[in-house]
């Protein structure tokens, strides 16, 4: 998760503890859901099950600092206890180690909105499933600095991986690497012939490392270029999703609509086009926006619950990211993921319980 974002979102639910991250350009989202069985003890509501479940986010760096040295952790730590103390504003991670030594970390957290990417694996036209090892071994052929890779289903059922090259680059100066995998290397193949998607390699590698270590098969669901690609890992106690935006096909570029664009963001750099407001909603409350502009909720559009993304053709439209956007990748025509926001009943944004690190200087609309 640290390969994706700087913040770790923790969401205790009835079905388990979900850890999530999103990158700054909202083009990558990952969630790890640990079922209650994964834990020796799992009490989402604490001692009072009727209490409202708190979700929070902590700085990735702070959280990782607790688990600094993996080899020594394996040798010395017997038990790990994670407690959320909303009144003390602390996320407590306690490691019970050898010799009776106890390490207690009290991390500051911030309450936050639900972070959820809208995606539907059922609605995807193509899917592949392979042992993680197959994909790791394929990906190792590409240089570490490579930004994007294209996954394609060629004629004859061969699956190919190819590094993505900018069109503008001189063809004679670039090296193209293409790898073809036979269908029988995969556990299941259900692809649309000729389909192709391009996505960011960095986040994908992060997931592959985990998948290999946990020895789980990786399932890839994808659709048309521009639609997000979903990578899934599953076993009895863990469910992992990585959703990456894909590069859209230049041929099917459409005009950005102005239907919902009535209220323009007053922000100087348009991270997200106006049409995005119809389905991209601010994650956080106003005290902690990321990105220079933030995305305040549009007054013309009511916030709504996430819904499957395949229906409305208007939502298929292109979103052009002009200008520099922090995160990966800045200059491509990546689609942002569809995010929905589920507000707690009442709609009032929760008052920040943490000291504000960086007040949002952009005024609300």
């Amino acid at each position: 998760l640290s390969r994706i974002g700087d913040e770790l979102y923790l969401e205790p639910t009835e079905s388990g503890l979900s850890l999530r991250a999103v990158n700054s350009s909202r083009s990558a989202f990952a969630s790890f859901l640990f079922a209650p069985l994964f834990f020796q003890l799992y009490e989402p509501g604490g001692r009072q099950p009727s209490r409202e479940l708190v979700r929070c986010k902590v700085l990735m760096k702070s959280f990782l600092g607790v688990f600094r040295s993996l080899p020594s952790l394996e040798k010395t730590v017997g038990k790990c206890l994670i407690l959320l103390k909303p009144r003390a504003n602390r996320l407590v991670v306690q490691l019970h180690c050898k010799y009776g030594v106890t390490k207690t970390h009290n991390l500051a957290f911030q309450e936050c909105e639900l972070l959820q990417a809208v995606f539907d694996t059922q609605g995807c036209a193509s899917s592949l499933c392979a042992p993680a090892r197959v994909l790791s071994e394929a990906v190792v052929h590409f240089p570490q600095t490579l930004a994007e890779v294209t996954l394609g289903a060629g004629p004859g059922g061969k699956i190919s991986l190819r590094n993505y090259v900018e069109d503008e680059a001189a063809p004679s100066k670039t090296m193209v690497t293409e790898l073809r995998l036979a269908e029988d290397e995969f556990q299941t193949v259900a692809v649309t012939p000729g389909s192709r998607i391009t996505f960011c390699l960095k986040e994908f590698r992060g997931l592959l490392t985990f998948a290999e270590a946990s020895n789980l098969p990786l399932t890839i669901h994808y659709d048309a270029p521009g639609r997000p690609v979903v990578f899934t890992l599953e076993d009895t106690v863990l469910e992992v999703h990585l959703v990456l935006a894909t590069l859209s096909d230049p041929e099917s570029e459409l005009q950005p609509p102005t239907a919902n664009g009535a209220s323009h963001l007053p922000a100087p750099s348009d991270d997200f086009a106006d049409d995005l407001e119809s389905y991209m909603i601010a994650m956080e409350t106003s005290t902690y926006d990321d990105g220079p502009s933030g995305v305040p909720p549009s007054p013309t559009f009511p916030l709504r619950t996430p819904r499957p993304a395949e229906s409305d053709p208007e939502e298929e439209e292109e979103e052009e990211e002009e200008g520099a956007v922090p995160g990966t990748p800045p200059h491509k025509k990546f689609r942002s993921l569809f995010f929905g926001s589920v507000l707690t009943p009442g709609g009032a944004s929760p008052a920040p319980t943490q000291e504000v690190l960086a007040e949002d200087s952009d005024g609300e609309n």
Binding site: L59, K61, S62, F63, G65, V66, R68, S69, S72, T76, R90, L91, Y99, G100, V101, T102, K103, T104, H105, N106, L107, A108
Partner: protein
């Protein structure tokens, strides 16, 4: 190969002359107190003491007893001089720092007295290097007046348990808070950094605890930047004794076993940052 640094018939004897078959016995100990460029060397018949200080708050001493040396003579009651420790260490490790089995650097150290440089003769594999390091006026050293009768709390721990903790201390915290108490949490190291606070608790019945003599609950804070260098001494040692007195002064004594199984000591004394007598979370 015997290195005779005192030519026959020389009228001026050396006030300090010492020989060591393995210079590493000296260099590793000196590294454990090397957090400032300069050190004060103090030689008596009992042995050599090298002291490093910083900010008038912290003092580290490395003791190398006379028995460690193959030859050790001190002509005066005590010999004191100030020297550049970085240069001294560079010279002692002039043949490299990697410890290949079977090879060791032999050392002969000679000092003529006040105003004279410290002369080092180092030999490895037939190659001899002569170093002369200028000495300076010794500074007045801090006297922490820390004696065993004034000790309020004392713990002896196996270093193994503390090593990782010290290496992973949250350096964004300005202080390291040490709590010692006859009641829970017994022995606690706390930091207060950017991410939040972290506490490391050692119970009194832990296998790591060799001795636990705490009479009073004491919580003291020390500047973490001053104590961090002690991690080197901790890494070399097998046991550490942690003692505090009524003022909250901290004494850390590290028992170090060298390659030949001989025991040497390094100690660190540190002033508390603020005096907090109640236990604080």
């Amino acid at each position: 190969m015997p290195l005779s640094a005192q030519p026959a018939g020389s009228a001026e004897p050396y006030v300090l002359a010492a020989s060591l078959d393995n210079a590493r016995h000296l260099s590793s100990l000196l590294r454990a107190v090397h957090f400032q460029d300069h050190a004060t060397c103090f030689a008596t018949a009992n042995g050599l003491r090298v002291t490093v200080e910083d900010a008038k708050c912290i003092q580290a001493n490395a003791f190398i007893q006379a028995e460690i040396f193959q030859e050790y003579t001190v002509q005066e009651e005590s010999v004191t001089f100030r020297i550049n420790l970085s240069v001294l260490l560079d010279c002692l490790t002039i043949f490299g720092t990697s410890s290949l089995p079977g090879t060791s650097t032999a050392l002969r150290m000679c000092y003529r007295g006040y105003g004279y440089p410290l002369m080092l003769l180092l030999e490895e594999g037939g190659v001899v290097t002569v170093c002369k390091i200028n000495t300076q006026e010794p500074d007045e050293l801090l006297d922490f007046d820390f004696c065993s009768t004034k000790v309020v709390n004392k713990i002896i721990l196996q270093s193994e348990g503390l090593r990782e903790a010290f290496a992973e201390l949250d350096m964004t915290s300005e202080v390291l808070q040490i709590t010692m108490s006859p009641d829970k949490p017994y022995f606690r190291l706390s930091t207060f950094g950017n991410a939040g606070s972290a506490h490391l608790d050692y119970p009194r019945d832990s296998d790591l605890m060799e001795a636990f003599h705490c009479n009073q609950t004491q919580t003291n804070r020390y500047k973490i930047s001053l104590l961090k260098p002690s991690t080197k001494a901790l890494a070399l040692s097998c046991k550490v004794s942690i003692r505090t007195d009524a003022q909250g002064f901290l004494s850390l004594q590290y028992m170090i076993r060298n390659e030949d199984g001989q025991i040497c000591f390094v100690e660190y004394y540190c002033c508390p940052d603020e005096n907090i007598t109640e236990a604080e979370l």
